[in-house]
């Protein structure tokens, strides 16, 4: 491989690798793979952010539910229990803040089941939302609550948290597996393209050998061509993916954050999304081309 006499600074291949119908196959193939790898990476980072949002939202709080009173006697007991719970929450060192939900708020929670017009006579439970201080053990508080209000249900969201964590861990595992498959597919497709190019240019390769070119001299041309194509394709793939992420982000910005927390990536994460697939795609292309060419050439006379 040499610098062209005609265009200074531009590399010229002895083998016609950058000509013909398949000249841009590496770029297309790598571009497509990098698009999917970037998608997988973005989904992974997104899942991480969503998990953190859900976990921090759930793990720092307790919900106390006092059964809905039916009789007047129960109403008085329920009011007494509510007072006790609020008093305890106010005194307890583990509690940051606490408050009882209003009737309207409770009705809003029940609206999916009861509809817009719930009867005024409907007995409702009392619900107390307790926000815990950071990094405190809620076990003592739960024990104290159980003592003063044995009939109340105390929900530390442990089951929900566990389910969310399991679900997200499974999804992330699947995404990781998918990324592995994408990497393998990229390497396999590049090896296939390089092999076909070797077959297409077999006579040129033989001529180069016969005029004294070493395997390394020939491999360098394939390596350079593949790396250039892979970098072009990878950049294209990343640009498409970033545009897709911005598009999805724009379309989902109106969704309730309680259902779908808005994921805000840090600058470093954006750099990771942009750079890692390009770097990985290029390195995979480079080493796959080198290995494939050297292996195929070693079979020749």
């Amino acid at each position: 491989m040499a610098k062209s006499k005609l265009i200074p600074g531009k590399y010229q291949y002895d083998i016609g690798l950058d000509q013909g119908a398949g000249a841009h196959l590496v770029a297309w193939s790598t571009g497509l793979m990098v698009f999917f790898a970037t998608l997988a990476l973005a989904v992974n980072l997104g899942l991480n952010a969503v998990t953190q949002s859900w976990v921090s939202g759930l793990s720092g709080s307790l919900t106390v539910e006092i059964k809905p009173p039916v009789t007047d006697e129960q109403k008085a007991a329920s009011a007494e229990t509510l007072k006790k719970v609020l008093w305890l929450a106010k005194q307890h060192p583990a509690v940051e803040k606490s408050r009882a939900l209003t009737r309207e708020e409770i009705l809003a929670l029940l609206r999916p089941w009861l509809g817009e017009k719930a009867p005024d006579s409907l007995p409702l439970p009392a619900i107390i939302d307790i926000t815990l201080k950071k990094d405190v053990d809620s076990a003592a508080l739960i024990a104290d609550l159980n003592k003063i209000a044995p009939d109340a249900a105390v929900d530390s969201h442990a089951d929900t948290l566990s389910d969310v964590k399991t679900l997200v861990a499974t999804a992330r595992m699947f995404v990781l597996l998918l990324t592995g498959v994408i990497i393998l597919l990229t390497a396999a497709s590049i090896a296939g393209i390089v092999r076909s190019k070797l077959a297409i240019h077999a006579q040129e390769v033989e001529t180069l050998h016969l005029v004294g070119a070493s395997d390394e001299y020939i491999a360098r041309q394939f390596r350079h061509h593949t790396l250039k194509g892979a970098m072009k394709g990878a950049l294209g793939g990343v640009v498409c993916m970033v545009l897709a992420i911005l598009g999805v982000s724009y379309m989902t910005h109106t969704i309730d954050t309680a259902i779908f927390p808005h994921v805000r990536l840090m600058p470093l994460e954006w750099i990771l999304i942009a750079a890692a697939p390009v770097l990985a795609g290029s390195l995979i292309a480079h080493f796959t081309a080198q290995r494939t060419v050297m292996r195929e050439l070693s079979k020749l006379a």
Binding site: D14, H209, V211
Partner: protein, 228 residues
């Protein structure tokens, strides 16, 4: 000094019949031979063995002082750089200019670009292609392509030059100039072997002949090989 030594060499392509049988001969440094024989006699196959394009299926070949059976693959390029080849079908790389085609053996040897430019320009002018250095082979005539192929073969001042019908596509004046170029190289010590059907060239340039018939050497610098 012996440049080429064949001892009981035979060759076949894949599982086909043997195309060369029991060839035993030596080519000394500075010798000049014509390789003649009818079509299908095995001339091109013999040239392939000489330019390390094929392995013999039996026998031993010593080339430039090395037993080829003992030469590891990574050292073959070094040996090939000492052999100049003119292919019958030229084997020029179609997307490279005339200049870059001739420069190939120098580039594979790692010569500096300024030396490559000087040497290639000089040689292309000598073979009459000085004004078409940037032209690509498909745009040139058969004779011009052949002269580029010859320039590529001799640019490295090889120790052994093998040529398959080098005057086949050129007029007699260019043919004569090419033969003089080969003789000039030969005078500087290059061993030359030219496969040709051109009786006029063989008669005019009185060099010894090696004649192949049905894969067997019937005339030439044979050497006696003791039976094992």
């Amino acid at each position: 000094m012996t440049i080429v030594k064949f001892s009981n060499v035979g060759m076949r392509y894949s599982t086909g019949p043997e195309v060369l049988h029991d060839l035993s001969f030596e080519l000394q440094q500075g010798s000049f031979h014509f390789l003649t024989g009818p079509s299908g006699a095995g001339k091109t196959s013999l040239l392939k063995l000489l330019y390390l394009g094929q392995h013999p299926t039996r026998g031993i070949i010593h080339m430039l002082g090395r037993d080829l059976t003992a030469v590891p693959r990574r050292e073959l390029p070094m040996l090939r750089r000492q052999i100049g080849i003119v292919f019958q079908d030229f084997r020029l790389l179609p997307h490279l200019s005339a200049f870059d085609n001739v420069a190939l053996p120098l580039r594979t040897s790692g010569l500096a670009e300024k030396d490559i430019k000087r040497n290639v320009t000089e040689l292309l002018e000598w073979v009459g292609i000085g004004d078409k250095m940037e032209a690509r082979p498909p745009t040139l005539s058969g004779g011009e392509q052949q002269r580029i192929a010859i320039a590529r073969a001799v640019i490295n001042r090889p120790k052994l030059l093998v040529a398959d019908e080098p005057t086949g596509n050129v007029d007699s004046e260019i043919g004569t100039r090419i033969m003089h170029l080969f003789e000039e190289l030969n005078r500087h010590g290059t061993t030359v072997l030219i496969a040709t059907h051109d009786d006029e060239i063989v008669t005019r340039f009185r060099h010894p002949q090696m004649r192949l018939e049905n894969g067997t050497l019937t005339e030439g610098p044979k050497r006696k090989v003791k039976a094992a």
